[in-house]
């Protein structure tokens, strides 16, 4: 009989195998120039978010300081993006708003995916009347387009950025619930899940050890591609006037600020809009690349 | 042997680009078929039998596939040199193909009539002469009417009762065996010179398999068809064909008449393959498998590709074996034998 391999050797081999799988994924992702652009630009945005107080020339403007003498100045060396109607430096406010936009996106996507995955997973695995009940509730949320319901809920909760995040999360989870449910339902039919049942696994073991790990990739893909849309939706609520209240430098609200003076003082609305675009575009590029790696079926 | 063979494949090399490297899927396939032959191409998964079959109508996706060397001669003309348009016309006129899975090879959204009539029209006429569905000139109507009649005739030919009525059905309304019959009808629409059948009964139940093989045998007799039958099932070979070529890892290793092959297999792989099938004479625990695994085709073994698994391996097996002619009909690619002719 051959000499038994020691645990250490086996573990070493395991690491090699995993590293190899990881490298393949990385290779596919890296060979996609667009997603690399998206990733780099996002990294820059994250750095910007943390370093904003040190980079912004007038960080106090983001906290509401006004300069009556410097109202409505067009872009110049002093004020790269110009100033708004109370003389605040738009460049500083845009930079200081980066962190907020990122935070809003992250909170919404995490809240929505946690609620959605839990509900969808339970519905699909339990089946029967539990499934019926949960899915009917999900359907009710899906009957009205997300933005409309988000407006209604946020309005009822009261204006403010926290309520925007709650409102959007509350209408965003059904998408995750539907996705998770369909994933779990099809995984439940897979032979390896049946085999797990066949060796005597408990329900919890089947769900957490066999089904959910295999459902993870598409959920992550959806999280990454939804991120941009969540940021856009939050900005829309800000634009309507339901979101962050002045003087918070929220990009959507800033566009709303500039609207009445558009197009004569075009810079007030233009630059925050471009900032939203850069963030959303970066996320979309990244999400598209992630989809290639994690969900190879979608792009061959 | 003076006449030009119907089909001659010479030294065909095919590569496939994969993540792990370039797989040498076919490495010098040689195969000859005369008009009227019913030839089985037999082998296990990954031996390249389907790729060889698909190389004839040039249906291998390229990329990732790439033919690096060799010829596919049909009555002497090299198919690999034809332009895509010429090839499409050639397929329509001279070839018929049936595939393994009858459920996926019919388009689910169109009626059998629509698909069968198109098959008739495009095989009988040049593609640019086929009228569009919205063309109501008398010529177009006549063509469609004739195609419809031909379709009914074909349905009867493949043994579908009330063929005329069933033309209006959709594929999902047919059982698996019936769908395979429809596919055979489509393949025969233009009276092809050569029918290539790629595992035509593998997805079917045994009793249905018997029906379809019976149909193919009848058609061979009735229409004087030449058939290239690709299969992994030695039983199907024995029941249906007269000649057989055995493939292993991208090469033909033995060619012979069916009778001779089963009575007198020469290549160690062929011997192993035949012994691996349980028959009524196999005693309990008397089955022999072939040890080892099929090689990874990105790094195939040197020389004879079977030598790492061969019980009779010798030093010379490091070289690619030439064809040895044991009789007029029996060829083997193995260093164990000498030319008898």
């Amino acid at each position: 009989m051959a000499r038994s391999l020691s645990s250490k050797e086996l573990r070493h081999k395991a690491r090699e195998v995993q590293w190899e799988a990881f490298r393949r994924g990385l290779y596919r992702f890296r060979s996609n120039a667009l997603s690399m652009i998206g990733l780099s630009s996002l990294i820059i945005l994250v750095i910007l978010a943390f370093a904003a107080p040190y980079i912004a020339p007038y960080p106090e403007d983001a906290r509401g300081k006004t300069h009556v003498t410097e109202r409505l100045l067009p872009p110049s060396g002093e004020h790269l993006f110009g100033t708004d109607k109370v003389g605040r430096d738009i460049f500083s406010r845009v930079i200081m708003g980066t962190g907020l936009a990122l935070r809003v996106g992250i909170v919404i996507i995490f809240l929505a995916s946690i609620i959605g995955v839990t509900i969808g997973g339970i519905a699909a695995y339990a089946g029967g009347w539990i499934d019926d009940l949960l899915m009917r509730i999900t359907d009710i949320f899906l009957t009205v387009p997300a933005l409309v319901l988000a407006i209604a809920i946020t309005a009822a909760l009261g204006k403010g950025i926290t309520n925007v995040m709650i409102g959007i999360s509350l209408v965003w989870w059904p998408g995750f619930a539907r996705l998770t449910r369909s994933l779990v339902l099809s995984l439940k039919e897979e032979a390896f899940v049946e085999a797990a049942d066949g060796i005597g696994s408990s329900h919890a073991r089947i769900l957490f050890r066999h089904i959910l790990p295999n459902a993870l990739s598409p959920i992550i893909v959806k999280m990454s591609t939804d991120f941009g849309f969540a940021v856009l939706t939050a900005a829309a609520l800000g634009f309507i006037g339901l979101g962050a209240q002045p003087p918070t430098p929220e990009w959507g609200a800033m566009i709303n600020d500039g609207r009445e003076r558009f197009p004569s003082e075009w810079w007030i609305a233009t630059f925050p809009g471009l900032a939203i675009f850069v963030m959303v575009f970066s996320w979309n590029l990244l999400g598209d690349g992630l989809r290639d790696v994690l969900d190879p079926r979608s792009r061959r | 042997m003076s006449s030009t063979p119907l089909l001659e494949i010479k030294d065909l090399h095919l590569e496939f680009k994969t993540f792990d490297g370039v797989a040498k899927v076919l490495a010098g396939v040689n195969l000859t078929m005369q008009r009227g032959d019913v030839l089985a191409l037999v082998g296990e998964t990954g031996c390249g039998k389907s790729m060889t079959a698909l190389a004839v109508p040039r249906l291998i996706p390229m990329p990732p596939g790439k033919i690096t060397r060799g010829q596919v001669l049909f009555e002497g003309q090299d198919l690999l040199k034809k332009s895509p348009e010429e090839m499409q016309r050639f397929r329509a006129k001279h070839l018929g193909m049936i595939f393994q899975d009858p459920t996926t090879n019919l388009n689910p959204l169109f009626t059998i009539r629509e698909q069968l009539i198109d098959a008739v029209l495009y095989q009988q006429h040049d593609a640019n002469k086929v009228p569009s569905k919205r063309n109501f000139s008398s010529r177009a109507r006549t063509m469609r009417k004739q195609a419809n009649e031909r379709a009914i005739e074909l349905m009867n030919l493949v043994g579908i009762q009330d063929g005329e009525k069933r033309l209006s059905d959709y594929p999902h309304q047919f059982s698996g065996g019936m769908r395979q019959r429809v596919l055979i009808a489509m393949a025969l629409a233009g009276e092809p010179d050569l029918l290539i059948a790629d595992e035509p009964t593998t997805a079917l139940d045994v009793t249905i398999q018997a029906q379809i093989l019976g149909l193919i045998r009848d058609l061979v007799k009735k229409l004087n068809l030449s058939v290239l039958l690709i299969t992994h099932n030695l039983g199907v070979v024995a029941k249906t064909c007269e000649k057989v070529a055995v493939m292993y890892a991208g090469r033909v290793v033995e060619e012979s008449s069916v009778k001779d092959l089963f009575k007198n297999p020469k290549h160690p792989y062929t011997q192993g393959l035949i012994n691996a099938v349980p028959t009524r004479h196999t005693p309990r625990r008397g089955l022999e498998g072939i040890p080892g695994l099929i090689p990874n085709l990105t790094q195939p073994p040197e020389g004879c590709r079977f030598h790492p698994r061969c019980p009779k391996v010798m030093d010379t097996c490091q070289q690619i074996p030439e064809a040895r002619r044991l009789s007029a009909e029996h060829k083997v690619y193995c260093h164990l034998y000498e030319d008898a002719l």
């Binding site: 667009l34 009917r136 359907d139 009710i140 009957t143 009205v144 387009p145 997300a146 933005l147 409309v148 319901l149 407006i151 209604a152 809920i153 946020t154 309005a155 009822a156 909760l157 009261g158 941009g228 856009l232 829309a236 634009f239 309507i240 339901l242 959507g252 566009i255 558009f262 197009p263 233009t270 809009g273 675009f277 959303v280 979309n284 979608s298 061959r300 | 109508p57 249906l59 348009e85 499409q88 397929r91 329509a92 018929g96 193909m97 595939f99 899975d101 996926t104 090879n105 019919l106 388009n107 689910p108 959204l109 169109f110 198109d118 495009y122 095989q123 593609a127 959709y170 999902h172 596919l183």
Partner: protein, 337 residues
């Protein structure tokens, strides 16, 4: 006919769904914090005035009673009154809804046509330049906030180039076509009013275009993926083996297979666009549900909010039902049962 009974079943299922929806919006608008009466009555209002307002709107009754009476009224076609304008919600909806519908329909038409086209081109040129280009372009346009893009388009095409009007459904001076459906384009065709048709189309073009970008990316991507999947099917190889030319294989046989799956996405995107219309309407002064809901939300005017969400719910559900039925007509395998 199976299709009929399927339709009936779906319509019946709509009833509990709308009940649920009304309950949801009712809960949201009545139980959550915020003081609509206070807002409506104004800051100077005395407690008595507020009290009488509450009584007038039935807000003094227990919540279940309020809900039941609301539902009862709903069935009688009485959708309540705005706290603010005192106008009937139902008649407001009748005015605003067709405008939104027309805008959304035009946008989904653009997105459907261009998305499918781009998707097909992408798939047929897989991993070549046109494919990559299409991918970037649609990702680019979907990444803009619709309201901001609307402003920019207004600036460029309306003010700078003066090619298109900058807002509203028609010139202020023009009388709209006689109302039949409320969709100006359709009404002007029905009344043979070509001048109104041209004018309405001219006004509609830019808002619909801006709106359509939101749906372009996913329609393109799905069409591309479906095309590739369909091209990979066994029957495509079979059709080629039969000697059919590629144009027949692709445009007759593959396209229908790909389009069926795209249809579902188009229905889904219809809902997304109808919501997106809210934002585009505010920019282009488009007298639709968008402006209505924004104003009502800011004032916590709950009767219109409920009415609007229910209208959205009905329309979106109907769109889904119709898509499912179209799906069934295109795919003979679907059995309604």
């Amino acid at each position: 006919m199976k299709l009929g009974s399927y339709f009936l079943r779906r319509l019946l299922l709509l009833i509990p769904l709308l009940f649920g929806l009304s309950l949801l919006t009712f809960t949201v608008s009545r139980i959550l914090p915020g003081d609509p009466v206070g807002l409506a009555a104004g800051p100077q209002a005395t407690e008595e005035i507020k009290e009488s307002l509450r009584k007038e709107f039935g807000l003094d009754k227990p919540l279940p009673v309020q809900y039941l009476s609301y539902i009862g009224n709903l069935f009688r076609g009485e959708w309540g009154q705005s706290l603010y304008s005192r106008r009937e919600v139902a008649s407001d909806l009748k005015v605003y809804f067709p405008a939104t519908l027309e805008l959304t329909l035009a946008a989904i038409l653009f997105a459907g046509i261009f998305g499918t086209l781009l998707g097909v081109v992408s798939a047929l040129n897989r991993n070549k330049l046109p494919d990559h280009l299409a991918r970037v372009v649609v990702l680019f346009f979907v990444s803009f906030p619709a309201f901001w893009l609307a402003m920019m388009f207004q600036l460029v095409f309306g003010l700078a180039l003066d090619w298109f009007p900058i807002g509203k459904r028609l010139n202020i001076l023009m009388t709209p076509p006689q109302t039949i459906t409320g969709l100006y384009l359709l009404d002007s065709i029905l009344t043979w009013n070509w001048k109104a048709f041209r004018m309405a189309a001219w006004h509609l073009f830019i808002p619909a275009l801006v709106l359509s970008f939101g749906a372009l990316a996913s329609i393109t991507r799905i069409t591309r993926a479906n095309m590739l999947e369909a091209l990979d099917k066994d029957f495509v190889r079979m059709e080629r083996a039969l000697g059919m030319p590629d144009r027949v294989v692709i445009f007759k046989y593959v396209l229908r297979n790909a389009f069926i799956a795209t249809l579902t996405i188009i229905a889904l995107e219809f809902g997304w666009l109808m919501a997106g219309a809210v934002l585009v309407e505010t920019i282009f002064d488009w007298p639709g549900l968008g402006l209505y809901i924004v104003e009502s939300s800011l004032r916590l005017d709950f009767q219109p909010i409920m009415g609007i969400t229910i209208i959205y719910g009905i329309v979106f559900s109907l769109v889904n039902i119709f898509t499912d039925m179209a799906y069934g007509l295109l795919d003979p395998r679907i059995r309604y049962g």
